[in-house]
């Protein structure tokens, strides 16, 4: 078997999983019980590239790399296009010039640098952050439907943000901070409520749904109790969009996503093992609860930070990892591919939102909601069908 190495003999926890026929994440599994079929487990994996250095090993699928590169290229292309189109159209050549720092005629330089460039960066980064978050949730919960939107984290961020707007008439920075705190607190509450000698996948989801329902009601109450102007401001935030994205948003978002993304990649081994089965993971040397808590922390932080900057952009966290998974197929964790796909999705959604009903600008969250949801339903149908026979 290509790529099969030797398992560590010193009793440490780093076992080369290719000996098992590959890690569990790509296996078809039952949606409820999370068990991969024996056939899938035994299926040989081929083509994996494994890099080793001392005790550390890294594996990557060629297909995953290809998908990531293509998605990344698409994201960049979309990014450049989004810089060119708009109410003030700019030829692509000028866009490239402006990006490279060469002098550009007219106001193009200003438009590109001050308005569209930060917006594009925010779009790509928030998409990547949301997709990463969703990918981690789906693996921890062993369910393709788990995502911060459905499990109540986004609802928590939304309620806090609306509360800041309605109760304290907060500034944008205060709203963003509120959303962050709200998302994190909600995640903590859900985790604690679902904790019973550990947090199993479906308990987490179900508790999340209940908590999300309560938070949505609170948000509705806040919207009812405010005057029309405040309501419009809150509703604009709730729709989720990139309209106000500027340079002050970029450093925090990009920095946090980079750090948390790196953390996710470092934890990818634990993530892979957590996705198999709790008992199996424990036998393989993973301390299950701490690993799960750490991984969920990263996922929640990613979702909360992205939501605090761009508002609740629904379905990206749910759909992007699934798209990446389908493209990469027999793949590795596909976290990086998910992030790239997420970036493409948000950039494209923002483009559509800006231009579809020009000159009216829709919020990007509505576009992802309306377009993403039917796809979600198809995914759900397929996942339920395939999962049972896997």
């Amino acid at each position: 078997m290509r790529g099969a190495g030797h398992p560590e003999r010193d009793g440490s926890a780093s076992v080369d999983l290719s000996a098992l026929g590959g890690p569990g994440s790509q296996l078809r599994r039952d949606v409820v019980t999370g068990q991969p079929s024996p056939a899938a487990l035994a299926a040989a994996r081929s083509g994996a590239w494994v890099a080793r250095r001392g005790r550390a090993s890294w594996r990557a699928e060629p297909r995953s790399i290809v998908v990531t590169v293509v998605a990344g290229a698409l994201a960049v292309a979309g990014f450049v296009v989004s810089l060119a189109v708009g109410d003030y159209p700019i030829p692509v050549a000028h866009v490239v010039d402006a990006l490279l720092g060469r002098p550009v005629p007219g106001r193009s330089g200003y438009v590109v640098e001050e308005i569209r460039l930060p917006r594009g960066l925010v779009a790509m980064t928030s998409g990547a952050a949301l997709a990463l978050s969703g990918g981690i949730f789906q693996r921890v919960a062993r369910n393709p439907l788990a995502s911060p939107d459905i499990v109540g984290i986004t609802a928590g961020a939304s309620t806090a943000a609306v509360a800041v707007i309605v109760l304290w008439a907060g500034s944008s920075a205060a709203v963003a901070a509120g959303a962050l705190v709200g998302g994190a607190t909600t995640a903590l509450v859900i985790y604690l409520a679902a904790y019973r000698q550990g947090v199993t996948g479906y308990r987490l989801i179900l508790v999340g749904i209940a908590v999300g329902a309560v938070l949505t009601s609170v948000t509705s109450y806040l919207l009812v109790s405010a005057d029309l102007y405040t309501v419009q401001r809150a509703s604009a935030w709730l729709a989720g969009g990139l309209a106000g994205a500027g340079w002050d948003d970029v450093p925090v978002l990009v920095g946090a996503t980079a750090v948390l993304g790196a953390a996710a990649l470092l934890l990818s081994r634990q993530l892979r093992l957590l996705e198999l089965d709790d008992e199996l993971a424990a036998t393989l040397g993973v301390r299950v609860e701490p690993a799960r808590a750490a991984v969920l922390l990263v996922a929640v932080a990613l979702a909360a930070i992205a939501t605090s900057v761009v508002g609740p952009i629904t379905f990206v966290a749910l759909v992007a990892p699934q798209i990446a998974r389908r493209l990469v197929r027999e793949r590795a964790l596909a976290l990086v591919a998910s992030a790239a796909v997420g970036g493409v999705l948000v950039v494209a959604a923002d483009l559509v939102a800006r231009r579809a009903f020009a000159p009216t600008e829709l919020p990007a969250g509505i576009v992802t909601g309306v377009l993403g949801a039917p796809y979600l339903l198809v995914l759900l149908w397929r996942a339920n069908r395939v999962g049972a026979t896997g």
Partner: protein, 343 residues
Amino acid sequence: MSTGGRSPTVLATDRARLLGLVGALALLGLAAGASVLVGTVTVRPGDVWHAYRGWTGTDTDLVVVHLRVPRTITGLLVGVALGLAGTVIQGATRNPLADPSILGISAGAALGSVTGITVFGVTSLGGYVWFAFAGAALAGIAVHVLASAGRIGATPVKLALSGAAVSVFLGSVTAGAGIIDVDLHDRFRFWSVGSLGLADREVTTQLAPFVVAGVVLAVVSGRSLDALALGEDVARSLGQRVALARTVAATSVVLLAGAATAAVGPVAFVGLTAPHAARILVGPGHRWVLPWAAVLAAVLVLGADVVGRVVVQPRELQVGLVTAAFGAPWFVALVRRRRLAQL
């Protein structure tokens, strides 16, 4: 449906259950009385008598006749409707976590109502309630079909997830419509969480016939639900026509939950908690669970409404918010208690 075998039913004989039901009805009477009397405008029992017997058109008379009493009656109807709908759903899907709002039916009814009001310009409840039914039916069908895909069929978790996903989808469509039509958004925000404050006499009189029809269907399906609880195969061997039973059950749910949601907006968790409380008290037989759940749900709705009116005076917490605040911890406790893989 198994109660887990942990605690025996509290009321074990038919006589006890009947007496208990009378007691529960008395409690309902108290709740209704509180609903009429409590609020920012002080109303005394004498004022109610005055409004109906010696009408002189004072402010209190108006409040009683046009606000309090319709509100109370609507709360009663909505409670009964949701309690029965929840019981029937839980029985028909053998899912203890079922509730019209969790399974997306409320969101479907909401979107249907919004469509009726905006696209077709129908503004009276008697008109757009039919759109609500259509929305509720379609959403329920979609959730059930989605969750049933696969060999295992519709487990509680899959149903809950499908319901949540469909609710989010329908919610974002409704929100999108609200963005495009700002006027709709302003009207709709008062309705996006269930509120009895919107109930006036017109709503009450138009709601009643649908609830009555739904109640009749629910009662009729009671016996078949007992059989279905034993499993499809056993039910068939007992002579039960499973498909017919399910259709009757589904129709009653759509009527009850759809009409209730069209009238006052989505009220969450009532359909979940009332049947469970009823089963704890009188056991799993639907002959008793149905009336008990109806009464308990009505008490819950009226009680939540009164609490909502009192807690943040002079403003008001909508009934949907209060029921969510009480219902969610119950739901969480349920999830923690049961071993769901077996259901």
